[in-house]
Symmetry: C2
Amino acid sequence: MADRNATTVMGRGESLLFLTDDQLRRGIEAMFFAYRGFTADPDRILQDYGYGRAHHRAIHFINRTPGTTVNNLLSILGVTKQSLNRVLRTLVEDDLVESRVGTRDKRERHLFLTPKGAALERALSEAQRNRMRDAYRAAGPEAVAGFRTVLEQMMNQEMRRHYLDDGDGPR
Amino acid sequence: MADRNATTVMGRGESLLFLTDDQLRRGIEAMFFAYRGFTADPDRILQDYGYGRAHHRAIHFINRTPGTTVNNLLSILGVTKQSLNRVLRTLVEDDLVESRVGTRDKRERHLFLTPKGAALERALSEAQRNRMRDAYRAAGPEAVAGFRTVLEQMMNQEMRRHYLDDGDGPR
DNA sequence: TTGGAAAGTCAACAAGGCTGACATAAACTG
DNA sequence: CAGTTTATGTCAGCCTTGTTGACTTTCCAA
């Protein structure tokens, strides 16, 4: 047990972390296995619709920021427009997403969930929130704070912007 | 700020977490964006070899448990044997992995990294460990413990077994 | 000794990434 | 106003990595 955990040593007023390769490897595998659990429930639901994770991601971020443009979604998702377009096309065809021509700039398309799309979004996010909530409850409040802190540090700088870019921050 | 974080209330000797849907949604997005960061560095390296994440995963777990069988790897990775086989075939062809016929049971193949494979493994895991270490350092020791705890709770039961199944536990 | 189960391989297909080329419309710029 | 840039969409084709189905080899138990 003592051999497994990171050791904290106080020196010169700062706490230093000594991390062995094995401890880091465990963190890496934790990410791998946890991400599988994280996506397992939505994946199951999506299968009934013939959709995949790509559809889930689009639906999630359209729900988070209704009226977002294709270009904005592109930079959040980090895929090519061809790839996103394929997904969006099926979602529009199936009446889950509505694509409205921009009023100010008519080149832009603003994306919204239809009632049908919102219903699927609720089913997906409810499943995912339930798992997240259960994990949080079992881990306790301090663990939750640490979890979020480490994840934020693990993101690329650019992604951190998108992650924060719907709150009360500047810009 | 006060509105953003989970609130802890002490009642009947237990701490209760009140989690809003927005707080949970942030956790969900944190996982999404962080996983992208988590895989970004290895992905870059793999590109030079013409490999993908599937190759990385195989190499990682063969390195962790040298001599593991295809079947064992299968249950860890959670893909079909046909899918894994394709990846393993290219790795064997490229002399990164050696597949030895089992001595006790000749149906089994035991997998090992060649020196070449071990070199790639080191490059990949070093990149990933560096990111993990930086995140840990920036987040601090308490955050790291919480991070691991929440991730462990988020795994499926079956995966938790694989995650722990190389340590000092029973069986 | 024979039939079933288990491990692994081959073939073919689908989802969802990618690049490249090109079209259209709208906005912007000199 | 002409030319360029921007936002979006589309077609074609490729790659990785998942899938299912069919098959071989090997092992084991009745």
